[in-house]
């Protein structure tokens, strides 16, 4: 026997989660399997749709308006702009703590490097930090947290011409945390409002942090912190700090590992569980049975191969970084089903000599029919019951376009919905 479901989604990132959620909500008995924990904890937590065109024009004010002019092989063109909108609404529905759904226009969110990122959705913790807001800002860095240099970020933002004054200040986080304390350590302290030691006195962590920041403020109406302000209790932490500082408090999204990414991961897994899907993480899918149709796949656990079978399958294993697309000296390939990945024969043609140039590898991935079913080299559907979603797809450069999350959500939603309707 095998562990059975109607729809089996392989991959636990944004595309896999969206896909499984869409399939489960459409009524299919859905199972999601992921090699490791979700890579969302490496993501900023911002949900972009399209920040720049494929030719590098932007930042775009309206991502949806630009979609019809994208190259034909772009995944957005495959699913169509209406599906992108529907998928984003489904995301809003599943993650009510996110903002930005009230408009088609991109929001401009300051990042920890002091750049401004055009993005379609952002966590509520970042809402008071928008660069389009004209209230002055104080950015608070922490001495030991070298990932966020508040003064440099502030200078960067000023240079970018933001419509407000911004100043960076640096404080020591209260308590005797080790210099390389983990983001989860800060979050846990603030979540539990544990007592920390300040000049020999025990003080609750939130109050102690506010006391460190207060003397440094010059009446700025908004104060930004690196994204460490709590995990389960993030809203309460922000509210209390806001009250103690007499200013709106926001988080600046950080690089990996990222608490906003962790919170989003938790929320999406909870939504998937509420929708009744079955979930398994920890071991990879390595093999499958089937010719024109996938009969079953095998999850490999230290040599044991556990069969999982379904009517329909979704491949959402990620791109070159996520290992859904692999490469060696001989070529570029998709490791589970060996779906065709088009690439130049000479591997010196895979990249551009300019670091920020037009790299061929950025667009590596499987090409599909209009139903997102991967195609072989001759343009024929590889397997009639396999769809692909997210960065395993080729034909777009998410890093340059700022379209990674949007493509994952749109193609995940489309693949999951169609898989459910055929199961």
């Amino acid at each position: 026997m095998a562990i059975e479901s109607d729809v089996l989604v392989i991959g636990g990132g944004l595309a896999g989660l969206t896909s499984a959620l869409a399939a489960a909500r459409a009524g299919a008995d859905t199972r999601l399997v992921s090699y490791k924990q979700s890579t969302l904890r490496n993501a900023s937590g911002l949900i972009d749709v399209l920040g720049y065109t494929s030719d590098g024009e932007g930042p775009l004010a309206d991502p949806y308006a630009a979609i019809p002019d994208l190259p034909e092989e772009h995944p957005y063109r495959t699913v169509g702009v209406d599906t992108v909108r529907t998928a984003m609404s489904a995301f809003d529905d599943a993650v009510p703590s996110y903002r930005g759904g009230h408009t088609d226009r991109n929001a401009l969110v300051p990042t920890h490097g002091g750049t401004v990122k055009p993005t379609a959705r952002y966590p509520d913790s970042a809402a008071d930090g928008l660069a389009s807001d004209d209230r002055d800002v104080a950015l608070v860095g922490l001495e030991s947290m070298t990932d966020f240099d508040a003064r440099r970020a502030a200078a960067h933002l000023e240079a970018a011409g933001v419509p407000f004054d911004v100043r960076g200040i640096t404080v020591r986080f209260p308590g005797d945390l080790r210099p390389d304390a983990k983001v989860t350590r800060y979050a846990k302290l603030l979540d539990a409002d544990e007592e920390v030691s300040v000049r020999g006195r025990r003080r609750p962590a939130r109050a102690a942090l506010a006391e460190r920041v207060n003397p440094e403020l010059r009446g700025e109406p908004r104060v930004g912190f690196p994204a460490i302000l709590g995990d389960d209790e993030a809203t309460a932490v922000r509210e209390e700090l806001s009250e103690r500082l007499g200013a709106a408090v926001f988080e600046v999204p950080m690089g990996p590992p990222s608490l906003p990414g962790l919170r989003l991961e938790d929320r999406l897994f909870a939504a998937l569980s509420e929708a009744g899907a079955s979930i398994e993480t920890g071991n990879p899918v390595t093999e499958f049975d089937g010719e024109d149709r996938i009969e079953q796949v095998y999850i490999e656990k230290n040599g044991a191969k556990i069969p999982n079978s379904a009517e329909q399958y979704v491949l959402a294993t990620g791109g070159l970084v996520g290992k859904g697309v692999e490469s060696d000296r001989e070529g570029v390939y998709e490791p589970i089903f060996d779906c065709h990945v088009a690439h130049p024969e000479d591997r010196y043609d895979w990249f551009d000599t300019d670091v920020f140039g037009d790299h061929e590898f950025a667009g590596f991935g499987v090409r599909t029919d209009e139903q997102l079913r991967p195609l072989d080299a001759g343009g024929t559907v590889e397997f009639e019951n396999l769809r692909a979603a997210g960065s395993v797809l080729g034909g777009y450069d998410f890093a340059a376009e700022k379209s990674g999350s949007g493509v994952s959500i749109a193609t995940g939603y489309d693949a999951g919905t169609n898989a459910a309707s055929e199961s």
Binding site: K182, N283, G303, D346, R347
Partner: protein, 463 residues
């Protein structure tokens, strides 16, 4: 142009290094930077670490302990330090790692973190730790729980009294560093193995399985046989779990053998006692490997035991048969999910006895890497008469022997706090988990009675 078409004619000097066309032609001779290692070579794993720190976000110790540098340091970084500096010794903070192994499941790059931790801990204990220290002997006694339990099982009543006798516990804390805050688990009056022998052992099981197959309409000589790895705890402390497993498996027509076995080694890995662990592993692998050759699969009801057989053995020991045992070991519910229509059976069943409860389920950390953290909740969600709620993804904090150490007790309870809160918030006042020490911690923090999924399956399926 490809390097294969035209290999570089001259080896470039340092200052002419051209990253676009590296010296990777046929004439390239890789240089051995590090000498060949006789023992564990973890360098490929260390090289895969790109320092994203995701493992650190999964570490329950780093979340509460301001001294602990986290899994990325303990694994890849410590390894690099050791490779480049002959004088570098393993940092003593390795002993603060609880061996929950959650970092393994977090790494997007496949770094064998827990293997590195186990190896570093083994090296620290064998080379840095004084063999005459109280800590060493305390750890050694704690990790050889099987020996203490075996002794206690000879006189369970006396042991139950003595082990929880106040003054004795005070003395144990003062002299041995074993916390007096915890109650020792009760020893059963009859061990599982004693019960098993009284039920006719393997021959009795074969008979019952055949009878059952006949009633189920399976072929009487169906090839359904398992070797049960019960572990120490369900033998000495909770034989009801082991008995439930026997009844459930026989219900599905499996014949069971209970081979000779020692401790899985889990507490020994966590205390860096690798020589002890190896001795026990040799016995376990030898008895399991023979049975696997005869067509048996090894089944464990404790997720740390199945983890040891599946992952830690092949990672740490080069013993003949170790890979076969790993590939044929399964957790008890998992195996039935694969081979039987367990979902259908549970959906058709109903609970109306004293197990008709709302369960607060905690997934043990060691269940996570095996992909088992959701199976109980998903399975019993379909069972009429009971409710089950996942109390979240936090660690229970006890991590086997960890929470028994006086100096770790507070930390252990701090880690467990989130689980206690979620258990209190859940409906119902009965807990459920697969791991015996998690069960200890759940009971300690909430006072709830804790059950194993096999017990609920028995109540649901066996007449």
């Amino acid at each position: 142009m490809s390097d294969a078409d035209s290999p570089p004619t001259d080896a470039p000097s340092d200052d002419s290094f051209e990253p676009v066309e590296p010296n990777t032609g046929e004439e390239f001779e890789p240089v051995d930077v590090f000498p060949d290692s006789e023992d564990f070579d973890l360098r490929p794993g260390a090289d895969s670490c790109y320092k994203c720190s995701t493992c650190d976000t999964n570490c329950p110790v780093a979340e509460v302990d301001d001294e602990f540098p986290g899994p990325k340091f303990q694994g890849p970084e410590q390894w690099r330090l050791k490779q480049t500096d002959d004088d570098h010794t393993v940092d003593d903070s390795i002993m603060d790692c609880s061996n929950c192994m959650r970092c393994d499941n977090a790494c997007p790059s496949g770094v064998p973190l827990s293997q590195m931790h186990n190896t570093a801990r083994g090296e620290y204990v064998s080379q840095e730790m004084s063999k005459t220290s109280v800590e060493y002997w305390r750890n050694r006694i704690l990790s050889n729980y099987r020996t203490s339990a075996w002794l206690a099982s000879k006189l369970p009543r006396v042991a139950n009294f003595a082990m929880n006798f106040g003054p004795a516990r005070w003395l144990m804390e003062k002299t041995m560093g074993v916390t007096k805050e915890r109650e020792f688990p009760e020893f059963a009056r009859q061990t599982f193995r004693e019960w098993w022998a009284s039920e006719g052992g393997a021959a009795g099981s074969r008979e019952r399985a055949r009878e059952r197959r006949e009633r189920r309409g399976d072929p009487v000589d169906a090839d359904k046989k398992i070797a049960y790895f019960h572990g120490c705890y369900s033998n000495y402390n909770t034989p009801e779990v082991a008995k439930a497993l026997v009844r459930v498996y026989e219900h599905f027509g499996y014949e069971i053998v209970v081979p000779d076995q020692k401790c899985s080694g889990t507490p020994m890995f966590a205390n860096g006692m690798l020589a002890d662990a190896r001795r026990h592993a040799e016995v376990n692998i030898s008895s399991m490997a023979d049975l696997i050759e005869e067509g048996y699969d090894a089944i464990a009801s404790c997720t740390s035991c199945s983890m040891a057989l599946r992952q830690e053995y092949p990672e740490l020991f080069d013993i003949e048969g170790v890979d076969d045992v790993a590939a044929h070991t399964f957790e008890s519910v998992e195996y039935l999910r694969i081979h039987e229509d367990l979902k259908g059976a549970v959906q058709a069943a109903e609970i109306d006895d004293d197990l008709a409860e709302e369960f607060a389920y905690h997934a043990p950390c060691h269940a996570r890497n095996q992909g088992l953290d959701r199976q109980a909740v998903e399975l019993f969600g379909d069972l009429d008469g009971v409710g089950i709620e996942d109390v979240g993804d936090s660690c229970s904090g006890i991590s086997g022997t960890y929470g028994w150490k006086a100096e770790k007790y507070e930390k252990s309870m701090q880690i467990g706090e989130e689980m206690f809160e979620h258990m209190e918030a859940a409906d119902g006042e009965v807990g459920m988990t697969e791991c015996p020490t998690c069960a200890m911690q759940m009971e300690h923090g909430t006072g709830y009675e804790i059950r194993h999924p096999m017990e609920l399956l028995e109540a649901a399926l066996v007449d």
